[in-house]
Symmetry: C2
Subunit: 341 residues, 2 copies
């Protein structure tokens, strides 16, 4: 006997990519569409999406550029990581009431067979959103990028850009937990105070109010061993001038360039890599997702000990997705940017 | 009893750095000075310099930029590697008649205590100048840059810029000897024919007559594993767009940028390193000089087997040093650029 179909009382609302943005994403680059919720087949679950993770890479997915994932097609639901609660289930691995994280898309609900969805215990976290920050791709990016590409040693000098941001704030704290001397770069007095006082960076540089190259020279008189780069642009160039011998640049992102409508600004000082025998290496977290347990095992004690905390910046409502993106790309977010649905 | 001083019949002639060049070095950036030859003290030798090695890095030494060596000071004798014959000796390790290579400077003779000078058997080489090409820093640069930074595997795709040049021509041949598929980039029909017919590259791209990005796409349909970069600029950017997963860029030089009077052109496509998980790593041969024997042992059989040859481009006369430099920086040289004295 087939089970009776369950019809949701609320329509399925999703943001579809309507046009490829030029510069900063506009509200009109997305179209909100409503539809009747699909019925569940055997093995499927319905997830009520609660929070979306707003990530720098989203700007890349919206272009036609070949990346580690294909572009989001025009008319398709915008791609996003998210977390939600199972509200209806025909899959015994995911009973009603459990929380899951995965690629939910920018929508308020979805039907899934559970593949690629991870259950997590929302009760044990200070906030369910931590499953998208420290214990999500954000935290894994910080952990594996620093450990695998940065190959950090205690006592070395670590510079982190976007240090108040989601990944950067984790990198700062992991660097400190590993005994490094950490210089964070952030924009504005509030973020800088957060980086130094809450995250524990040894020094902080306010890129909006200081001359980057002078400040780096001042705080890194003997040069830089590891640079965790989230932004590219002028900061990357300033760092390149101050590399120590065999310095490592973890190329994690280039948020300063993602919305550039002209040509990307290449790092003019890249030839410093020669005299420093330095390397600049690209890094994508999906290569390390199968080692998530290893990172979580390493980070959990730091969280317990108060060495690793996470600040969330929450925008409410699906229609405010584009605004959340703009907050991220203009540096208005303060902590891990989420959208609450 | 002090030995009597020996007075050379010819004056000591040397080129001194007179001004730091802007753009291409001019004749007037150097001053030819003559002086009475110094007498030898015990333990010293007089070397009659026969050939100077004209190297891309010279342009960097002439600036005030911090590099792996300090800048040449204004008024100092211009730095150069060279080879010569011992013509007078108070050091039994270097009897009259032996050939030596080392940092001779741009001069026709020098007095040395022998430190940093290597003896070599000029008779066993096709031309003594090979001690400055395959068996000099040029060959070591090609060998260690490719092996240590490029970590090449048989069957992988290797792209080499300045492939008809001193280092590049060695890299092409070593790549072939290691079983790689090699695409050389050179300027003009003659050089391209040399790269393909003499050096044995699988494909060659004429950067003066072809659109680099199209040609790379055509010849590397599945992308590039290793890029040995001697030039930077447009070619580096074109390569960055076609990287295979975990590609390695050996950053050996950026000759297209050394004479730039404006800002260096940074590689605008550097963010491709992220999606490719690629690395770009700087390399300086002096880190490997202590392993010279290892490279020579590996390369000698290739030379014997005709797999590794060297083309010399010889300009005559100390006063033509600046012209030899200009030949190098404008790509007019065809093979390893030397100055014969």
């Amino acid at each position: 006997m087939p089970r009776p179909e369950i019809v949701m009382s609320t329509p399925h609302r999703a943001l579809h990519l309507a046009s490829r943005p030029e510069g900063l994403p506009k509200d009109s680059d997305f179209e909100l569409r409503e539809s009747a919720p699909a019925a569940l087949a055997d093995g499927q679950i319905r997830i009520a999406v609660k929070f979306l993770s707003i990530d720098p890479a989203m700007r890349v997915w919206m272009t036609e550029a070949k990346s580690y994932w294909p572009p989001v097609g025009l008319g398709e639901i915008m791609r996003s990581a998210g977390i939600g609660e199972v509200v209806e289930s025909k899959n015994e691995k995911f009973p009603v009431g459990v929380w899951v994280s995965g690629m939910t898309g920018v929508q308020d609900q979805l039907v899934s067979d559970g593949k690629g969805m991870q259950r997590f215990d929302a009760q044990r976290l200070p906030h369910p959103g931590w499953a998208l920050s420290v214990f999500g791709a954000t935290g894994l990016t910080a952990y594996f990028g620093l450990i695998e590409i940065g190959t950090p040693k205690a006592g070395e000098v670590l510079v982190v850009s976007a240090a108040a941001g989601a990944v950067g704030s984790n990198v700062v704290q992991i660097g400190k937990a590993l005994g490094m001397r950490v210089i964070g770069i952030a924009g504005g007095a509030d973020k800088c105070a957060f980086v130094k006082d809450t995250l524990g960076a040894d020094e902080v540089i306010d890129y909006k109010n200081e001359k980057i190259s002078d400040a780096i020279k001042q705080h890194c008189p003997d040069g830089i061993d590891v640079y965790f780069d989230n932004v590219g642009g002028e900061i990357l160039d300033a760092v390149l001038k101050r590399l120590k011998l065999r310095a490592r640049i973890v190329l994690c992102g280039g948020i300063s360039q993602y919305n550039a409508t002209g040509e990307t600004r290449g790092p003019a000082n890249y030839l410093s890599l020669i005299s420093a025998r330095g390397k600049m290496e690209g890094f994508v977290v999906i290569d390390y997702l199968h080692r998530a347990e290893e990172a979580i095992t390493a980070m959990a004690p730091w969280v317990q000990a108060g060495k690793l905390t996470s600040k969330l910046d929450i925008v409410e409502g699906l229609p405010n997705f584009a605004e959340a993106l703009r907050r991220l790309y203009t540096g208005k977010n303060f902590g891990k940017q989420l959208v609450q649905i």
